[in-house]
Symmetry: none
Subunit: 209 residues, 4 copies
DNA sequence: CGCTAAACGAGACGGTACGTCGAGTCTTGCG
DNA sequence: CGCAAGACTCGACGTACCGTCTCGTTTAGCG
């Protein structure tokens, strides 16, 4: 097969591509996303502006590619998966909040998030470098807990994942403090409803340890 | 008392102030936040550009004041408070998602959210028009449920509120779909943990009705 | 030969250049130099403001180029050269005064003159369109007179030229009236000194040194 | 008669007046005429802008009053009057050129000169601090020479004065160098014409070469 | 090897908005 | 009514990016 129209003309220079990504990355680290103009990227990369526009539709697209290609040091959201959901959740939340306190990351996230609206490619890239990673981490954590019998059967893991990501994201986009993590974990574990099973059961936040 | 330095000089014109707010509001409704330039606001308000700059540091500040002063029709996040948390939560989530689908509101929220980072005044205004309202609605809902004995005693309502707001906000800032609301409500009500009391308890999402 | 670094990039558009010059000229004729803003020039030339700033450092520079390139109808200071200095000088002075009474020209002269202080290029252009022309005219007049034997030998024509130009310029920059031209011509021709030659005596002041 | 309208209301404060003049003078000395804005004058004088506008129609008017009132140290154009016109003229020209080299004075002169066009009051003030002084100096010089019998009778002193002022002014408004002063003096003394009495009389500047 | 076609450097260009400045005027309240 | 304070209009300033364009110049593969 490969009717793939034979590539005619001068092929794209890989050199310029990395030059642009490098320039964008360093500029972003130095002055932030807002101040990183395409003019500046091109200048620093010693590349014609048109060369940037030829391959990337926008500044956000360049930054997204930087993120995907590993030109930007992003926090990684590893989650412990010991099987003890309370401990795991608590540890993971603490860690995530710490990671998110990097101001540059926050900026990047916002920029890509905004651009995601109009550019599905960026949306996919953003998902790849951020949400997917989170989902997998959380998933692993919950799976381990489930295997350990610590989770109620039948719960929708997607919903839980979504909830956790939202909670952490909110701390990013808004500048909320991290709140009371143990209480949050308690709510997640036991719910808020006065279920039939909670009869007489004490709150576990302050459970005797 | 009140040595509050007598106001000297020509007092600020209330007329121009509302003219600016009105102009900004209508422009925002018509063309969106991105296209609403300070030049355009001043022009439409028939006011000198300098008059805008004198009183507002940025476009976002003008829009924030528009929001606070009621010049923009914002969705209101009323919550039913029947005492039945499942029904209330479900209804409220549906309603909130609907409200958030107004594209202009989404844009406004993003714009103000972004500006909140560098301007604490805007942050406060944003909280006032958006989060505070949400908090009160949710609070009312949960209080009613608590009074009806439908909530487990001892839970931290703040945490729950925060969680719900985050979940809804995430749908705003990211463009996530609303997900599986009943499943979400179920998780919230019963938690994810296999508590001693949940033994054998069936998932209630599809409980026999 | 011509190692003249090959011109890189998109070449300057001659079209825009003349559009700007034309716009500046017509604006100047219509509203005067003071009211001729760069904004207005760019607007009338249907050119981006930056295009003006790219090539001309100031409004005066544009006008100077207009003058040099012949976009402005300037008075020409032709001088008769009959060989009769009294008649020639008188005629030329009268004519020059008439020419200078054009208010626009006066304005232009002042503007360029002022800008000459900080911009040597403008100074050169001003000289080219104004002073040089005057010098040549006067020179021709005096040369003819000299050839006709009507001038005392040995006089410094440069000085005389400078003196005449100054006298006329003064009428321009200040708004002096033209004074008593015949008296001026008389002074120029015969000097003010009680020369020895009026009595056949030797030179006047302290001649023998 | 003399209904000399009784002055009603608060009388003009002499204090503010000198404050304004002082402020204008110092600003002018420090940053020049172009940078001396009315705003700056008022601010430095600790006076309301309106107070400036109430009494002076323009910045130039303030500066003109500064000059007249002696707030600005201006060069004085004293002329020697020994009765020897060659020596006197030469000395005076040299001195005048030196004096005019003060850049601030040049600036002031240009500013007032320009404003003279539209404001007769300023024109009169300019004349008073500059031209009149010059005229008197030259006049004195020439009168002494006349009394000493060194001037040809019947010459129009006004014309000569005008010519000299023009020559010096030209060096101010344009940035011409001072030229060949001895040659200029020679031309002034003996004229350029080959008059009957100059027959055979050698020029004295460059004598026979 | 020469031809073709696209990638590239350089930089001009139209456009939009920016935020600032200076000019003059207007509106308060105080003395 | 003078005056301080300062809000206001108006118009221009010069700059910053945006994204497009127009040159000339590589740099590959293909015939």
């Amino acid at each position: 097969m490969s009717p793939a129209t034979a590539p005619r003309g001068r092929p794209r220079s890989a050199e310029r591509r990395v030059a642009v990504l490098r320039a964008a990355s360093s500029l972003f680290q130095e002055v932030g996303a807002a101040q990183t103009s395409i003019d500046a990227i091109a200048a620093r990369a010693r590349v014609a502006k048109q060369t940037v526009y030829r391959w990337w539709p926008s500044k956000a697209a360049v930054l997204a590619e930087c993120a995907v290609e590993g030109y930007l040091t992003l926090p990684s959201f590893h989650a412990p998966a010991t099987g003890d959901p309370r401990a795991d959740l608590t540890a993971w939340l603490e860690e995530s909040y710490d990671a998110l306190e990097t101001p540059r990351f926050l900026e990047l996230f916002r920029a890509l998030n905004e651009a995601s609206g109009s550019d599905p490619v960026i949306a996919a890239q953003l998902d790849r470098v951020f949400a997917r990673q989170l989902r997998q981490a959380i998933r692993g954590m919950l799976d381990a807990a489930f295997d350990a019998g610590a989770l109620r059967p039948g719960i929708d893991l997607d919903v839980v994942t979504q909830l956790l990501i939202a909670h952490v994201s909110a701390a990013v986009t808004q500048r909320a403090d991290r709140g009371d993590i143990p209480a949050l974990v308690a709510v997640l574990l036991h719910g808020i409803g006065a279920g039939p099973r909670s009869r007489g059961a004490p709150m576990d936040t302050e459970e005797p340890r």
